[in-house]
């Protein structure tokens, strides 16, 4: 029983390692691309939350409940220091 569990664990580890080699970087890059677009959208509608003078928009209020969960991460990412060495990530 223990041997079977060990084999299953080893297979899971192997699958994870293969995923890491083949697809992890690409999945992360796809997430970054999607997040950039989402943040652009947030800047356009809710930029005033971070001091960008965006004209008031009634649609922004309607959308606010749907994007509320994103706002924290958006603010953190916007405020984070950036460097040329970060461009590799």
């Amino acid at each position: 029983m223990a041997g079977r569990a060990g084999i299953a664990r080893a297979l899971r580890a192997l699958r994870s390692a293969l995923h890491g080699m083949a697809a992890h970087g690409h999945a992360a890059a796809a997430r970054r691309a999607r997040t950039s677009l989402e943040h652009l959208f947030l800047w356009a509608l809710f930029g005033d939350m971070q001091g960008l003078p965006v004209p008031p928009n009634p649609y922004a209020l309607l959308l606010l409940p749907h994007v509320a969960g994103e706002v924290g991460a958006w603010k953190r990412r916007s405020a984070r220091e950036r460097d040329f060495t970060d461009l590799l990530s």
């Binding site: 899971r12 580890a13 192997l14 994870s16 390692a17 293969l18 995923h19 890491g20 080699m21 083949a22 697809a23 992890h24 970087g25 690409h26 992360a28 890059a29 796809a30 997430r31 970054r32 691309a33 997040t35 991460a73 953190r76 990412r77 984070r80 220091e81 460097d83 040329f84 060495t85 970060d86 461009l87 590799l88 990530s89």
Partner: protein
Amino acid sequence: MSPFWFVLLALLGYGAAYFGYARWYDRAVWRPDAGRTTPAHMYMDGVEYFPVSRYVLWGYQYKSVAALGPILGPYIALQYGWLPALIWIIVGNFFIGWIQDYGSIMVSVRSQGRSFGPISHETMGAGGRNTLLGFVLFYLLIFSAAFIHLVAVFWNEFPATFWATMGVLAAGAITGQLLYRARVSIVVTTGVALVLVALSVVLGVHAPTPADVFGPWTLPFWAAVCCAVLYVASILPLPSFIQPVNYVSFFPAFLAVLAILIGALLSPALGVTLREPAWKAWTTPAAGPIWPMMFVAIACGAISGWHSLVGSSSTSRQLDVETDARPVGAGAMLSEGLLALASLAAFMVLSPREAGGTGNVGAWVDGAVRLTKGYLGGPAAAAALKAYFALTLVIFALTVQALVTRFWRLVSAEVFQGRAAWLGRRHVATLVGLGVPWLFAVTGGWTNLWLYFGGANQLLAGLALMLITIHLVRAGSRTAPTLWPAAFMIVTTLASLLIQAWFFARAILRGRPLVGAGSPLGAPPWHLAAIAVNGAFVAVGLALFALGLRMAVLACRAYVAGRRAAGAAPAAADD
């Protein structure tokens, strides 16, 4: 003697490094704490900062660091015999390589996931960070020149590879469309991609390009074609081209490495033996003296600065718990060392005449075929295997270089702000980032280019080790395991850069420029252009030397200041 003993020796050596030295180092120096919050949890945004399983992260780190360096580097090192190369790959990995990779990840984790730019700013001030930026720019130029040169050489030397490469690029583009536009499942898409890659190899074998198609201008022509491909790759959005091409390329490249390792392990049964002499000479006319040249020639097979950039800019932000840093950082580097030894074995199963017969580094392909044909179809499969391994070399070079060209473009946009903003524009930056390396690629010979690249790359590793040491001394922890390797790497690489610059300067003074074999630039009237580009090589070498020396001086000052400021009682490196 067979390559099997090499792989066995490496497994024993690296096992001792991982389970013995690394475990001691972990406990004595970094003292990772599984209960401490890592940046992946502290700043989790699901994009850059998010926790990932150690196995996934090991795979990611290994894939990011294992490329042409450990495969081709041993070729130059073999000019001194295989014994010094073997010793350096094992000892370099044991005492230096994995410590740098692991330390880079841990420094970043303990610095809120910051990359080396901000860390160098914090430890050495604005001057240190700007010097690092300048160094990286020159490093990228030399990196690009070496890899563009290699792709051009491979396309010319292995006629089956050009159309096979085009097939793989097309397979990548189709894969991207299937994944992102047609939204076909990843399993089906991967199946289609693998079939297309296999068809690409068949296409390459049946539609070889003519060798030396433009006579002496063939290499510049292939280098220009390579630049055109890289230009397209650099300016297109990542998901349209580079990303799916890298995904498609992973499978044949990974299988090739696996096949060579299996071949080396089976070598006693297959009757494959070593044919290179263990020792040849202390010095060679092309590469120079064994110290410092062999230590930079092997490049990523023993230690690499590229790894520190990757480890500190992405891996550290996805580390679930601190205790994962050892399997991820040290594990990936030691695995790459194994790849370097397998590649060394591929060169060593050829006699000096056979290795020289191919004329250059492409001998690796012949060695790989010899190691694998015994269990992969026999002599009948040799032609297909040759096309396959040669294609592997091309895609290893091309996929890494596409990312480097893109990185150059993005860094240029950051650097050239204000008055010279036009230099940072997308097309201009890409053209500069390919035009200058093209010029270098078609003039400098392969050995000189590779040694410049190795020198810059290992110097970056030495500087990374110094940054780690400064962090440790400030935290009042042990510094000897990183300080002495850093000092050795910095002195060795600075010496190698000076020697290479002198080689180019001497060629100019003699009026006989250093150019690749058969290059048209060696004869009048083009030799004047080659002399001018050799002059540029001297300038680049001296710039790398000066920037590296400045970084080293700043790092030493920061280390001394940190040592004075640190308390007398030793503590864990946990600030």
